[in-house]
Amino acid sequence: MTKFREKRIRSSLCLGLLLIVFSFSACEGAAGKARTPHTSTFFAMDTVMSVTVYGDETAADEAEILVSDLEKKLSVTDENSDVARLNRDKSAVVSDDTYNVIKTSLELSERTDGAIDITVYPVVKAWGFTTGEYRVPSLEELGELLETVDHRKVDVSGENTETGENTVTIADDQTVDLGCIAKGYTGDAVIKMLKEKGVQSAIVNLGGNVQTLGMKPGGGLWNVGITDPFDLSGYAGSLYVREKCVITSGGYERYFTSENVRYHHIIDTKTGYPATSGLASVTVVGDSGVICDALSTALFALGLEKATEFYRNSEDFEAVFITESGELFITEGLRDAFTPLGNYENKKITVIEHENN
C-alpha cells in the first residue's frame, strides 16, 4: 500500500473508533437519564401518596397537581367540592370527573348487587368514620339510615352534551361519598396523564393503592408487596406485575374498638354493620384502578364464597384473599405472579379456578 492510503485507512479507523465510543457514551448517558426515578410524595385524600416517574423530571410534580385538583372536586369534606354541593342541594351540576366517578360507581353497584354503594355514606357517618367521633349506632338508627341507601335513586341521566353541563340528582334523604372509588379513579387519571406525556415507566402508590405504568426501566416486572393483615409491618406475599393495579381492602386500615369489640370502616350495605365476611384482606389485581378499588371493597364485604362466584362470572380481575383464620387463597391467574412470604411461606395456598363460563 502507498503511504497515503495507509494514512487514510488509519485516520478512518481512528474516526470510526471515536464515533463508536461517542455513541456508547451517549447511549449510557441517555439510558442513565431514562433510569433516573423522580418521586413526588404528598398528602391528599386523607392519606400519603407517592408518584415515581422514570425518565421525566417534571411529570411527578404534575401528577401531584392533578391529584390535588381531583380532590377539590371529589372530596366529601371540602364544602366547595362537587360532592358537597350535591349533598347539600340534592341536585347539582358537576365537573366531568365527578360525573364519571359517580356514573362508574353506579355501574359497579349494579355489578356487585349493591355491595358497593356511594349512598351508604349516612351509615358510615353514623359510626363516626368521617369525624373520628366513633360510636356504635343503635339498630333502630341503622335501620332508618339503611332505608336511604339505594344507588338506584341516584340519577345521572342529566348529561347535556350540548352545554357540557352534567347534572346529578340524589333523593332528599340521601348523601353520597365517593371514597370507595376515588383513589382508583385518581390513579387511573394519573397513569393516563403520564402516558400522554410519553412516560414509559412509573409507579404510583395512593395510600396503599398501587398502580403501575409499563415495566421497570431495564425491562423488569414491578415487585409489589402485600401487607400481612395480621402484622402490618410484615408481608403476606408479593406479586410480580406489568402495568397492573394492585389494590387492597382490609378492616385493619381504619377501625375503632368499643368494649373490646373491633368495628372497621368497610360497612356492609345490607346490614349497616362492619362487614363480617370472614376475610381479613382482599387484594384485587387488574387493568382498571377504579374497578380494582371498588371490587376490593365489594369482595371484602361479600366474603370468599360469593367473591369466588363473582370471579367466575368476571373476566377483568384476579385476587388474593386472606381469611380471618389466616388462610391464603389466590385466583388462578396469579399462580405464577404470587410468592408467599414470612408467616405464609409454609402455608397451603388454595388456587381458585376460573372455570370459563
Binding site: 449510557e28 448517558g29 426515578p37 409489589v224 402485600i226 401487607t227 382490609g250
Partner: protein, 127 residues
C-alpha cells in the same frame, strides 16, 4: 507487521481510551447518596451528584479523626490518625460496590444503591 505499526495502533488505542474516559467523566452522574456511619449510626448523608466544588470535612469519633474529601460523584478518606490507614488506602469510591471502612474509628462510608424501593426490594407495598 513492523514495530512502528504496533506503536501507531497502541497510540490510537491510548487516544481513544483517554477520549472515552473524558466523555464518561463529564457525563452527569445519576443520583447517588453517600452515607457516613459512626458506630452503626448514620451521621451524615451527601448527595454526590449535587456537589459542584470539592470540599473536605472531618469526622471526629472518640477514637480519632478522619478527614473526608467529597467531589462530584465520589468520596474518599484523605487522611486519618488511625494506626493502619486502611481507610486512606481504599481511596475513592464512586458506587455501592465497596464501602470505606475505618475499623479503629468505627467509621463506615457507603454509597447507597440507586433504588427507591420501599423495603425488602419491593417497588411498592399495597395495604
Amino acid at each position: 507487521m513492523k514495530t512502528t505499526d504496533w506503536i501507531k495502533i497502541i497510540g490510537i488505542l491510548f487516544i481513544v481510551s483517554v477520549a472515552a474516559g473524558l466523555i464518561l467523566w463529564f457525563l452527569p452522574a445519576r443520583g447517588k447518596t453517600a452515607n457516613i456511619y459512626v458506630d452503626g449510626e448514620c451521621i451524615k448523608s451527601i448527595d454526590l451528584t449535587l456537589v459542584s466544588e470539592p470540599y473536605e470535612f472531618t469526622v471526629t469519633t472518640g477514637d480519632g479523626v478522619n478527614t473526608v474529601r467529597v467531589e462530584k460523584g465520589r468520596i474518599c478518606v484523605v487522611s486519618s490518625d488511625c494506626p493502619d490507614k486502611v481507610c486512606v488506602e481504599t481511596s475513592w469510591i464512586s458506587d455501592s460496590g465497596m464501602p470505606i471502612v475505618c475499623l479503629p474509628h468505627r467509621l463506615v462510608i457507603r454509597i447507597e444503591k440507586v433504588s427507591h424501593a420501599d423495603d425488602n426490594g419491593f417497588d411498592a407495598v399495597t395495604r
